[in-house]
Symmetry: C2
C-alpha cells in the first residue's frame, strides 16, 4: 500500500514532518449528519458495528468531510468481551449493558479465551479491509482495542459507572481472579490487534478509558503490565497508548515500548514532555469543550496548544477525549484548518 | 462548648497532636444498618435531610458505632441550589435530578440569591444545633457545602454525568453567565457556611467533587477564585478544601487561606507535601476500595498510608472518597482502630 499521506505515521515514529497531523477520537460518529443518516437506517449501534459495509462507510466519512489525517475503524472496545462470551447490548439511554457480569470464579467459567479471533470478529477485519480498499492510500487506518483494565471494568461492573467500585472491589477481594481475567483479555487483545494489522491497519491505539480511577500503585499492578505485553507484541506498526486520567502514571506508560502516548485535556504538554523526554510522540490534547466556543476561540485555543509543543515534531494533534456528539462540525473544521496551517520549522 | 476531643481541630490548625484524628466522608449513611433503619421509616432521602431530629440522629451514629473523631452533619450539597430556587429530587436509581436546569440567561432569571439562608435552610441549622447538643462535646461537628463549580455542574447538567459536558459547554459558550452564576452560588454558600458555624459547626469542608473534569487553566478561572472567596470569608473555624481529581491544581488550592487540603486516593501524599510545604494540613487518602480487602489488608494498607505521612503531624486521616455503601462496617472499625493505635512522636 502506497500511502499518499503518511504524516501521522512519520510523527509517531519521530521522523521529519512538514506539519502536525490531526485526527479526532470519535470522529466517525454522531457529530456528522452523514453518520446519523446511515445510523438511522439500521436497527441500532451494533448492526452498524457488525456490518462491514456500513462500518467502512462511516469510517471514511470524516476523511472526506473533515479532512483528517487518519481514519479510525468504526467499532467498539466491547466487541472483545463479547467475543469472549460476555456479550453486551447498547441501550440508547444507558450506554453499554451486560446481562452477565464476571464477579466470581464461577462467573469466570463462562469467559472464553481460546478461539479464532479472526473468525469470531471477522466483521471488524472485513470492515478494515473494505476501508483500506476504499481509501486507496489517501490516509492510514487506525485499529484499536480497549486496554485490559478498561475491558475488565465493563466485564465486572456490567455497565458504565462513575467509580467502577465493583470492578475495583475485585482487585482487593480476589486479585488472582483479576489477574487471570486481565491475562485472558490481554491474550485475546494481542491476537485481535495483530489481526487488525494483518487486515490493513497501519497504526494501533489502545484506549485505557478508566485508567484514572486507579491510584498509581494499583495502576502499576493491574494495568501497566498488560499494556506492556500488548506494546511488546505489536511490532509491525506504531502503537499509541492512551491512559485517560492517569496523570501520575504517564512516565510509566511512556517507558513501555510504544511510539505515542495519548494525553487527556487535564495533562500539561510541557510538564509531560519534561518528564518523558523526546523518545515518544505525544497525542492530544485540546479540551473537547473548547469546540463549543466561537470559531475565534477554537482557533486561539488550538494555536495555544500548538505553541505548547515548542516546535517539537513528536506530536499528533487530537482532542483530549472523544469529540462530543453535539459539537458543530464547522468548529471541527476550524480546529483542523488551524492545525494544518500552523507552521513548523 | 468544651470539647472533650478536639484532636481534628488541633491537626487542622497545625497544633500538637498525640495521634492522628480520623473520620470518613459519608460515614453517616448507607454503610450503617442503624442508618438504614432510620431511612426505611421515611418517605425518602429528602425527608431525612429536611427533618432535623432524624438528620441529627444519623449524624451521631458513626460517633457512637465507629468511634470517629468528628461528626459531619448529614445533609446534601444540593440543598444550596434548592434554596436558590433550583430544586432537586433524589431518584433511587438515578441519583439527583433537576426538573429545571440553568443553561441560558432566560433560565438564570429563576435563580435567587438574595434571601435569608438561615430561614430557608433552617432545617440544616436546626440539625446542627441538635447534634451539638446531643454530642455534648464528645467530638466536633463538621459543616459543609459544595464548591460553586460543583454546584454549577448540577444546576446546568441537571443530574450526575461522567463528563458534565453541558456544564463545561457553558464555560465556553457563555463564560460571563457562568461567572454570574458562580458568584451567586458563592455569595449564598458563604452565608450558608457562616450560619452553620453560628449553629455550632466547629469546622467546615468544601467539596469540589467535579474539580477533576476541568483542565488546570479552567479550574484556575472557574473554581479557585470562588474557593478563595469562601476560604477568606470563613475565619472563625478551620476550613478544608477537597478538590477531588484536581491533581494539577493542588498547589493553587493549598495557596488559599485554608487549613486543610483534602486528597483523593490518586494523589501521592509525599509528592503533595513536597509541593506545598508544611503550612497546610493534608486530609485523606486511603483508596475506599481498600476497605473491601481482608482485615489484614485494611490494616496493612492503612499503616502504609500512615507511614507515608513521615511522622508529620499536619494530617487528618480519611479515605480518598466517600466510603462505599456496601463496605462492611467491621472493616471500617479496623481502619479506625489501626489509625488510633498508630504511634506518633
Amino acid at each position: 500500500m502506497n500511502l499518499q499521506n503518511d504524516l501521522i505515521l512519520r510523527a509517531a515514529k519521530g521522523e521529519d514532518i512538514e506539519r502536525y497531523p490531526v485526527w479526532l477520537m470519535r470522529q466517525a460518529g454522531r457529530i456528522l449528519p452523514e453518520y446519523r443518516a446511515v445510523r438511522s437506517k439500521l436497527s441500532g449501534f451494533k448492526e452498524l458495528v457488525e456490518t462491514p459495509e456500513f462500518a467502512a462507510e462511516v469510517t471514511i466519512q470524516p476523511v472526506d468531510i473533515l479532512g483528517v489525517d487518519a481514519a479510525i475503524i468504526f467499532s467498539d472496545i466491547l466487541v472483545v468481551p463479547e467475543a469472549m462470551n460476555v456479550p453486551y447490548e447498547m441501550l440508547e439511554a444507558k450506554g453499554p449493558w451486560f446481562n452477565h457480569t464476571i464477579k466470581s470464579e464461577e462467573d469466570a467459567k463462562r469467559v472464553e479465551t481460546d478461539f479464532d479471533v479472526e473468525d469470531r470478529l471477522s466483521y471488524v477485519m472485513e470492515a478494515i479491509k473494505l476501508t483500506v480498499k476504499e481509501l486507496n492510500g489517501r490516509v492510514p487506518v487506525i485499529g484499536f482495542a480497549g486496554a485490559p483494565w478498561t475491558i475488565l471494568c465493563y466485564m465486572v461492573e456490567g455497565h458504565g459507572s462513575k467509580t467502577f467500585s465493583e470492578a475495583r472491589k475485585l482487585l482487593w477481594t480476589n486479585p488472582s481472579l483479576a489477574h487471570q481475567l486481565l491475562q485472558g483479555i490481554t491474550d485475546v487483545t494481542i491476537r485481535y490487534l495483530k489481526a487488525q494489522v494483518k487486515a490493513g491497519a497501519s497504526m494501533i491505539q489502545v484506549f485505557d478509558s478508566w485508567a484514572g480511577i486507579l491510584g498509581t500503585e494499583q495502576y502499576a499492578t493491574f494495568s501497566t503490565p498488560y499494556l506492556k505485553q500488548i506494546a511488546d507484541a505489536i511490532t509491525d506498526v506504531p502503537v499509541t497508548l492512551f491512559s485517560k486520567g492517569a496523570i501520575t502514571s504517564i512516565p510509566a506508560i511512556a517507558a513501555l515500548d510504544c511510539n505515542t502516548v495519548g494525553l487527556d485535556w487535564n495533562m500539561d504538554v510541557e510538564t509531560v514532555r519534561a518528564q518523558i523526554g523526546n523518545s515518544r510522540t505525544l497525542q492530544g490534547n485540546l479540551d473537547p469543550c473548547a469546540l463549543y466556543g466561537s470559531h475565534a476561540t477554537v482557533e486561539s485555543e488550538t494555536i495555544k496548544m500548538l505553541n505548547s509543543f515548542g516546535q517539537n515534531k513528536r506530536h499528533i494533534v487530537n482532542l483530549g477525549h472523544g469529540v462530543y456528539p453535539d459539537v458543530d462540525p464547522e468548529k471541527v473544521k476550524t480546529f483542523i484548518k488551524t492545525v494544518k496551517s500552523y507552521e513548523i520549522n
